[in-house]
């Protein structure tokens, strides 16, 4: 028995239709903790270089962490990971909710799905009973529709992760959906699940999670909880959720607007968190064990649908970035993406790109199935979302992601295809935020914000500085947040409520019985970061600095409007940021981890 863990690994071979259980390797738990730590180690060790992301050899890893399912604020995250069909590199994406807790109550820390099923199936887990079941009745259904139907069939106490038609049709940025509106959205983890013809994972468990010292665990958990409940920021985060960031981000000039042409959207009246709260929010919806429910469950009368959100990122990409100024229209676009099972960030980003291409005359109605695209046209955005999910007409091109779409459209459009490493950039315009730009450049799944939300540091110390401390802050954040992803926890309690990270040290000791310092935990996070980097190095011949560059728009076009008007980070400064970052990481000038660094982190199995 491993304290803090479910204790078992479930390996599912979809080609053969077989299921195998084994004990969780205690060395894996010691060296990689859980969550994305498990995922990175398994994918690096078990995938051979060059496997087809949509083929039999790719694996989908579903991982809980040592705090998942426990009374620790925010212990509701589940990691999904695979080799990405969107980027060809390492991918993991996490989702809040109830799934990892339920996995552990059933006794599992890990589910590894291998192979490709000959027909649509779903994985049924009820404690020790594990079966692959026929999913023909659910295949083709939207994610919300199918989740409703599965709960009706199996019982409301099953927790379900599933894919929608977008994943079935292999849209490269299909997501894995859970709990009526939450998604592991990024880098195509849902596409991998769809390619395996695995429609859903349904899990229910009733086992207790073993804890080393129950009394101390209760004490620390309660202290963490009390801190969160008493935080000054609690009110606004429960009231507005991430949509509370819409206005500040717009004032920072970082709200992606019209395909990142600007970072400032002029029409914010119906886009604020307060407007959303008053107009459409029905219920505050929390993840497992979270005392600060940032989930806003909404109903839009205008479109007569329920939807969770829109979150900040969705407001950015199905709002300002496509020029839509009304949260109810954003909510409907959000609903469409959720039901069809595609990532709102990538979908909005690629649609915004198509609109800019159309407005610049790079594509015409001949390319768009007769649709005249323009920023602010809600109906046009709804139409494109559906075309993407069904891969109809232009949707078939846009379903491949913005990097590919730029290759097809040509006309210099790759200069403003807003992606890094093939992943569409998420919601922060960064030409006036060097640390944030560096965070995007070096994020280990491609351009995603959640490894290091460094823009707050730019604002704190001065926006212009291209200085070593910015690289240092990015590295620090890239260890803390991914550490939380390995533990199975959320960052909100720390970032937004200000809960001291020190709490995790006694909490982990009480839970696992293993005495680790904060530095010990961060050392593991650094190990994982270097391992995911090494995954890219192995997969991409010639991998290096070139992969870390942002799109040319970010170093050639000064911001045209808003508070950051005229700002730009030159190519020279982009290189300077990378130089400082690589040096501080102990990587070579091309961004490759050195032998010395790998050995220092216990990554002796990674070749130089």
């Amino acid at each position: 028995m491993l304290n803090g863990y479910g204790g078992q690994v479930l390996r599912v071979n979809l080609t053969q239709g077989s299921v195998e259980k084994s004990d969780l390797d205690p060395d894996l738990a010691r060296d990689y903790l859980g969550g994305r730590g498990f995922a990175a180690k398994i994918l690096y060790s078990e995938l051979e270089k060059g496997v087809d992301p949509l083929g039999e050899a790719n694996k989908l890893v579903v991982a809980a962490g040592p705090i998942s399912g426990l009374l620790i604020p925010g212990a509701g995250k589940t990691t999904f990971a695979a080799k990405s069909p969107a980027t060809g590199g390492y991918a993991d994406s996490n989702v809040g909710g109830m799934l990892s807790a339920e996995m552990k109550f059933a006794g599992y820390d890990l589910i590894i799905a291998e192979g490709v099923s000959p027909k649509p199936v779903y994985l049924y887990i009820d404690n020790d009973t594990v079966e692959l079941r026929d999913a023909k009745d659910y295949w083709g259904q939207g994610a919300i529709t199918a989740e409703t139907a599965l709960k009706k069939e199996l019982g409301d106490d099953f927790q379900i992760a599933l894919v929608g038609p977008g994943a079935e049709n292999l849209v490269k940025y299909a997501c894995i959906c859970h709990d009526f509106g939450r998604q592991a959205g990024r880098a195509g983890v849902g596409t991998v699940m769809g390619s395996k013809k695995l429609k859903a994972i349904a899990v229910r468990g009733n086992k207790s999670i073993p804890v080393a010292d129950v009394g101390e665990f209760r004490r620390v958990g309660r202290e963490m909880l009390e801190f969160c409940k008493n935080s000054d920021a609690w009110d606004v985060w429960v009231r507005l959720g991430t949509a509370g960031v819409n206005v500040p981000s717009n004032e920072w000039g970082s709200f992606p607007t019209r395909n990142f042409q600007s970072g400032h959207f002029e029409e914010m009246d119906k886009m604020t968190g307060e407007y959303m709260r008053e107009q459409i929010v029905v219920t505050d919806k929390a993840c497992f064990a979270c005392p600060c429910a940032c989930g806003k469950y909404s109903y839009t009368k205008k479109w007569d649908v329920h939807v969770e959100g829109p979150e900040y990122e969705t407001a950015a990409f199905l709002g300002a970035d496509v020029g839509i100024p009304d949260i109810e229209d954003v909510a409907y676009a959000n609903y469409l993406c959720d039901e069809l099972g595609i990532d709102t960030i990538s979908a909005g980003n690629v649609i915004a790109f198509a609109i800019e291409c159309f407005e610049k005359g790079i594509i015409t109605t001949e390319d768009t199935d007769g649709l005249a695209l323009s920023f602010g046209d809600s109906e046009g955005v709804f139409e494109l979302i559906q075309k993407i999910a069904k891969r109809e007409g232009i949707g078939d091109v846009l379903a491949e992601g913005v990097r590919y779409a730029a290759e097809v459209f040509g006309g210099g459009s790759s200069d403003f295809a807003m992606q890094i490493k093939g992943l569409e950039i998420s919601g922060y315009e960064s030409r006036d935020a060097p640390a944030m730009m560096l965070a995007y450049m070096t994020a280990d799944i491609g351009a995603h914000h959640n490894r290091a939300w460094a823009i707050t540091y730019d604002i704190e110390v001065g926006r212009d500085g291209v200085t070593p401390d910015k690289a240092a802050k990015v590295i620090e954040l890239q260890h803390i947040r991914p550490l939380l992803d390995a533990l199975g926890g959320c960052r909100l309690q720390w970032v937004e409520l200000g809960m001291p990270l020190d709490y995790y040290v006694p909490a982990m000791k009480a839970i696992t019985g293993v005495d680790r310092s904060w530095d010990d935990l961060i050392h593991i996070a650094e190990r994982v970061w270097n391992l995911t980097r090494s995954f890219w190095v192995r997969e991409m011949d010639g991998f290096g600095r070139e992969w870390d560059y942002p799109p040319p728009r970010w170093y050639t076009d000064p911001v045209p409007t808003g508070p950051s008007k005229g700002k730009l980070i030159t190519k020279e400064n982009v290189d300077k940021l990378l130089d400082m970052y690589y040096e501080q990481r102990g990587w070579d000038q091309n961004g490759i981890p050195t032998r010395e660094k790998l050995d220092q982190l216990g990554l002796d199995f990674v070749p130089s």
């Binding site: 919300i144 009526f180 129950v214 665990f217 109903y299 329920h306």
Partner: protein, 127 residues
């Protein structure tokens, strides 16, 4: 005295159930708790909380008189006396007498108030 819930404040986080299991059984397991949350999604998108009203119907039907009141007036099942006939579970109008395969006897709210203490949203109280 009984536990009462304002379901409109519930966020479905299950901290109450965790606290309940940790104080009632010293285990981390919301499936061993004495109150229930029913999520109603996708429509209407609300949580409904069920708690023990201390109506006493369980004690009335118990054939071996194993259900008695504690010092707070809460009905509880004396597991020594209980024959696990589960008549109390069936009669409970709120469906808040629970069973678990680890335990022969069912269990119910003993008004320890750990859930009230741990709920961050003020959804639970004792009246």
């Amino acid at each position: 005295m009984h536990l009462t819930a304002d379901s409109s404040k519930c966020t479905g986080c299950r901290l109450c159930q965790l606290a309940c299991s940790l104080y009632h059984f010293q285990e981390n397991n919301p499936k061993k708790s004495c109150l229930a949350i029913d999520p109603k999604f996708p429509d209407p998108g609300v949580f409904e909380v069920r708690t023990c009203t201390q109506c006493g119907e369980c004690a009335e039907v118990c054939p071996v008189e194993a259900i008695v009141q504690n010092e707070k007036g809460a009905y509880y099942i004396d597991s020594e006396e209980c024959t696990a006939c589960l008549e109390c579970v069936e009669v409970c109008p709120e469906n808040v007498i629970f069973t678990h395969p680890d335990r022969e006897a069912p269990f119910q709210c003993n008004l320890c108030e750990a859930c009230v203490d741990f709920c961050a949203y003020g959804a639970l109280s004792v009246e």
